[in-house]
Symmetry: C2
Subunit: 294 residues, 2 copies
């Protein structure tokens, strides 16, 4: 298929590479041309703008960092829709409301759109094992599945915006769970417990899961390198909390997690992985107090 | 082995039954004799008090609902230690500080003690698949393992109180995760998403796990029957938060969960399962507002 790809960052570059390897005709564009060097060497075509990237394409994928960037790259005068591709699939995590506007603008131009945010991170992008949460109409979904399958497992979740909404629910659960694991870690540390033994016990319990098993060993060795960055989580949580507020919900767990991440970003830790939440002041054992007790 | 068992509630009764089936000589006591009827029919001996239950026993297990009850049943004038068993193992979830006092009082009397709280619920008690978190000295642990193995998997986690402390870390993580899953559920509901499809997606993601898979289908069918009761969780969380405060920690996620459970208990929902947290006012989608938006 003739595919376009807009945005060659940590996620977009390996996704475009997989599409190329799978035999699709791939045209790419990005803010910086050097991020396309390896792809061009592998046979991808370069385009100067999202619009040029979209001309004559069956499907254009967009993978960009935030709502404003996606809006410009898709709806702007030099954006994807101006190039008239058959289908545009926005795989960024953005506002459901933007997905709805993109779908409406596409329909008005006789084109089709999907929102198709992903989870699974750079490793999932490399390995083609992303979970792809899709909103849109069934016909457009069916036409896109052969390309989406190269990247992971696509699931149609409802009309335009449903992919984004599902992704926001997932991100909210991730943030809340990160915060809970961090509190458990912090309490276990404060109590002077054998941290490996505690992990062994709680990971086999009902509150175990992959996030606990991702975080705990990294916390034990002080590894705060990003699997997922605090600043990205702040962006996703803001979108989720906006939806929650519009629905009249008071999601204190998610708001508390957002506050901790925000505090850490403000003090210069936004590029660290979300597990660095344990560095927040509220989670520091006051060791002098405790040792005074003993 | 000559075993005593104090407390024949939802957990204690099936635990005592397993010990009997495994061929141990079991003597039991409980607040109400009728809770021992089936055990007596199966060959267990009845004792009128914890003290009588403990006389001449190799190991006495205690499984009672709260700190004050355990304290009286173990340290009181008619308590287990007064009966002089070789080992007392308190399997209730209580304060680590009480476990330390029991261990000290036992040692002063030439006896031995373990704290050995469990997770796995009534199903784990029936099936002998409890996770048993043990604090105490290695010799006492080794002597108790043949009996503990009938009930599940015992792990020695450190000196007296370490079992309780590990259990409290686990309960804190459970409560925080329950709260996070409830917020995700609440947001997904408010957004009008296909709840089965959302579960399918997020359960395969990094924040998936057995608690999500326990709660979500029950929430979908409105099942708030207790696997674990809100009032029990309040008790455990209070113990955990007390430890956290003494360590100088500000565990907002756990405190927020405790507040929601407390509010629900105050309004008469304490006997429901913890998944009923979604009935808290903060988690009710304000459907009239949302429909007004659309």
């Amino acid at each position: 298929m003739k595919v376009g790809f807009v945005g060659l960052g940590l996620m977009g570059e390996p996704m475009a590479r997989r599409l190329l390897s799978a035999g699709h005709e791939v045209r790419v564009t990005s803010r910086r041309r050097d991020s396309a060097a390896a792809l061009e060497a592998g046979g991808a075509e370069w385009a100067a703008t999202p619009r040029d990237c979209a001309v004559g394409r069956d499907l254009v994928m967009v993978m960009l960092p935030d709502v404003a960037t996606v809006e410009l790259a898709v709806l702007g005068p030099e954006g994807v829709l101006a190039g008239g591709p058959a289908i545009v699939a926005d795989m960024s995590t953005t506002a459901p409301e933007l997905s709805e506007r993109i779908a409406a603008r596409a329909a008005a131009a006789g084109l089709s759109a999907l929102d198709a945010p992903v989870s699974g991170g750079p490793a999932g992008a490399e390995g083609g094992t992303l979970s792809i949460m899709v909103g849109g109409d069934p016909g457009t979904f069916a036409a896109s599945v052969p390309v989406l399958r190269v990247l992971g497992t696509p699931r149609l979740l409802g009309p335009a915006g449903s992919g984004q909404r599902t992704k926001l629910v997932n991100q909210l659960l991730v943030a809340a769970t990160v915060s809970g694991v961090a509190e458990a870690w912090s309490l276990a540390t404060s109590l002077g417990l054998d941290l490996a033994a505690v992990h062994d016990v709680i990971s086999g319990g009902i509150a175990g899961g992959p996030l606990l098993d991702f975080m705990w060993p990294r916390l034990m060795r002080g590894d705060v390198a990003p699997g997922f960055k605090i600043d990205q989580m702040i962006k996703d949580l803001r979108l989720a909390l906006t939806e929650a507020e519009e629905g009249g919900l008071d999601l204190a767990t998610a708001r508390g997690a957002h506050q901790r991440f925000q505090d850490l970003s403000t003090t210069g830790h936004g590029e660290l992985g979300t597990q660095a939440i344990v560095r927040h002041g509220s989670l520091h054992p006051n060791t002098s107090d405790r040792s005074a007790r003993q």
